[in-house]
């Protein structure tokens, strides 16, 4: 009688054989006590292993983990949270918000009513006056902006300002200014580094290594 190898019987118990192979082994097992005993041993091992318990860590494990975890809130979530905090919860809060929102309407309305009550002021003259002032303002701003763009005067102005400051100041003042500038730069760089790169660098390396 040709017996299946022990490996074959292991695969049979594991359920890794296809239907035709399984049928062949099952028909053999009916007549072979030795192979049946081998199969029973494999089954006993599989049952024992699959009934091994999962152990639980001691109570408070989640809290201990969370103490070392930084919950990162995306900017959108933080903004929403801030807005949610600004929404009033009680009647008094809502009254205050309504009053604040109504204030500009009341002031503008009052001003308009006062102006229109003046002799010689009609809605049309008031509209023409406001329109002319606004368009003059816009045109003047646009003109200045385009001129400064054309001459690249902003950078030039800044440079000239620095030149004047340097020429006019004595060396002691310049030294103090330079030191303050250096300190502020270092602080700014540190804040940037601390927020962008420093957070759990060690873990990043380890985890990336694992991925």
């Amino acid at each position: 009688m040709l017996h299946p190898t022990p490996d074959r019987l292991e695969s049979y118990v594991e359920g890794a054989l296809d239907d035709s192979e399984r049928v062949v082994i099952e028909s053999h097992l009916v007549t072979c006590a030795r192979c049946q005993a081998e199969v029973d041993e494999w089954k006993a091992l599989f049952t024992a292993l699959s009934s091994l318990p999962r152990f639980a860590p001691s109570p408070g494990f989640a809290d201990r983990v969370m103490a070392g975890v930084t919950v990162r809130r995306p900017l959108s979530v933080r903004v929403l949270e801030l807005l949610r905090r600004l929404i009033p919860t009680g009647t008094a809060g809502w009254l205050l918000v309504t009053a604040l929102l109504a204030l500009p309407v009341v002031v503008t309305g009052g001003l308009l009513a006062w102006l229109l009550s003046r002799p010689g002021v009609t809605p049309l003259t008031l509209w023409l006056f406001v329109r002319d002032r606004v368009s003059d303002g816009i045109m003047s701003l646009a003109g200045r902006a385009s001129a400064s763009l054309l001459e690249n005067s902003t950078a030039q102005l800044v440079w000239e300002f620095f030149q004047r400051v340097i020429a006019g100041a004595d060396s002691a003042r310049l030294g103090v200014a330079a030191a303050m500038f250096a300190v502020l730069t270092v602080i700014a760089l540190w804040i940037l580094y601390d927020n962008l790169f420093r957070t759990s660098t060690r873990e990043k390396h380890h985890v990336l290594h694992c991925i």
Partner: protein
Amino acid sequence: MPRGELDYSKLTDQEVVAQARAGRETAYRELIGRYERPVFSIIYRLVRDRELAEDLAQDTFIKVLNALDRYDPKQKFSSWIFKIAHNTAIDRLRKREVDTLSLDGSPNARTADDVEATRIVVASTEESPEEYAASREIGTEIERALARLRPEYRTAIMLWHIEDRPYEEIAEIMEIPLGTVKTFIHRARNELRKHLAHLRA
């Protein structure tokens, strides 16, 4: 459940991770709840020292949860966390030159009391107390036999038999070829049968 809280039990791991990435602390706790037992069990059976296993399981979760923004949702979350758990325990075993053939208690135990105190203990079981009491003897023998396997064999066996992971996922977790996983598991089972042979007599 408080109003506004999600029912995480209906969400997949990937969906819970997405919630955690959106800044929900409850989602982080859900992930810990889902994996604390599997992760702790694997590490505990590798290092066989409860206190050390707690520390390493804690390290594993902290590493994973602090790196959620780099998690690729195409990968199974379980594979990722098991990989980090396995690597963390193996690194520590190598670093501390732990005697992986130790049968009872922590390899660092110096006295008989230490050995008893650090002997692997079943903290809880998913079986009923009656069933558990009946199987305690074979359970203990199995634990001792398991402890005699190489750590890599132990991880492979635990992932297949306890965590029901397919060979392909075990290969991904342990970063070894599929054929090697099959060989590990086959050899480990044969070794276990050899170590348990005296029970048949």
